[in-house]
Symmetry: D2
Subunit: 142 residues, 4 copies
């Protein structure tokens, strides 16, 4: 288990907010995915390699099959947000990630979880390198 | 209980999709909210009345405090999607909505749930008219 | 020249608006593209055919190389918007589309233009069927 | 004139891309606005102060009344993008900003321009402090 979760930072931008004056709830999942993309790159498995292109060779597809979030405090225009990300679980073909969104005062504003599932005609399970990298980031539940 | 859930239709547009060739998972929550806005208008409580404006009088704020989704089949560019929406539960200050996303063949592609919670300094509970309107749409769980 | 421009309808949804209480300017281009996708389908050239998939055969790529908009009146949550779309020009490898966004009172809230350019290693020019279909929708400038 | 334009960095994320494998054109305007928000904060006029809230006092509203972009090279998942921003012009009630989007090789991928216009019942012109700050960033045209 890592001493610290993976950390990702963002600002709440005008397009994140809505006419109620706070972040539109759905955008939390966009920010969670940005944190995930940054995390995967640090692990050595950037999504642009995994997804590949029309002309490239074999790909690893890891679509999200479940997502959930809890919202505790509204986020407003200009706020600095720290996202903490850690691995909740790694199985043969799936892994789950936890996210905690904190404001500048360290208060938890939201938490989220995504479940990622390897898909493909063949089913060899997660690549071993990815499995090992993910396992090193397993942390306590939210 | 209504004979039928509330129905809302949409097309998967280019901006809904991503480089993996399918709908980006987070956009499901945008579409769920579109269906919710359409539903609330049919109930006689359109969001533009509830949210109000800076200069308007009292408002009813119903932020989403929980959201979750399960993804069963990918949605692709151009697909026609039918969203079925029904009320899962109505409490004093909260209500939960269920959503089922179906493709043109009637297959379930995703399901979602949102929990809406009345907030405000005073806490009179949900307006009675809204509570009654929501209760009429309570349906079976997904 | 058609008697009427192509018409597309939309509602301003909560996620379209921002903390200033009006539609975020960038979303106009998303709505313009939705209208374009709907238009192309009516012409018999839906984008899901043109873009194709990783496994499909030849594709027609028509990326937007220029886009512009003028904003005359703010659009607010819940507003019904009618988008009028017509073809401004068709050349060998490019075509330009004009858009007018009107509110429920028929007032012009915004106008936009997109320029679409055929790309590819071979350069046969626009497919003849598409060129003819587009030409039939050429209208007067905004 | 500044020796250097204002610089803002971003990564192309999965939700920026579409099924054609490149950034959806409309998202350029979202990124341009992110750069603008960051720039305005550096100038001492962060948007969260200008827009204010329902309960706050006087506000300065500077909606975008024109926007345009040219796309020269597609942007792909994972690309690092540097946005250069400078002021094209400052008038009594308006100012125009130029943006250049560069990839990691320093190639221009897109350029954009936005025109911002002060609105309000009274019309005192742009606040003098803002006018002076903007004027210091006037640079050559794209």
């Amino acid at each position: 288990m890592p001493a610290e979760p993976y950390a990702y930072s963002l600002r709440i931008r005008l397009h994140d907010t809505d006419a109620a004056g706070v972040m539109f709830y759905g955008h939390l999942f966009r920010h969670a995915h940005d944190a995930y993309e940054s995390f995967m790159e640090q692990l050595g498995f950037p999504l642009h390699d995994l997804i590949g292109t029309a002309t490239a060779g074999p790909k690893v597809r890891l679509p999200i099959t479940r997502a959930q979030a809890r919202y505790e405090r509204p986020l407003r225009l200009g706020e600095r947000v720290r996202v903490e990300l850690w691995v909740a679980e790694v199985r043969r073909r799936t892994f789950a990630l936890n996210y905690r969104f904190q404001d500048a005062q360290g208060r938890t504003c939201a938490t989220a979880q995504t479940l990622h599932c390897l898909v493909g005609e063949d089913d060899p399970g997660l690549p071993e390198g990815l499995r090992n990298a993910l396992t090193a980031w397993i942390g306590d539940a939210v």
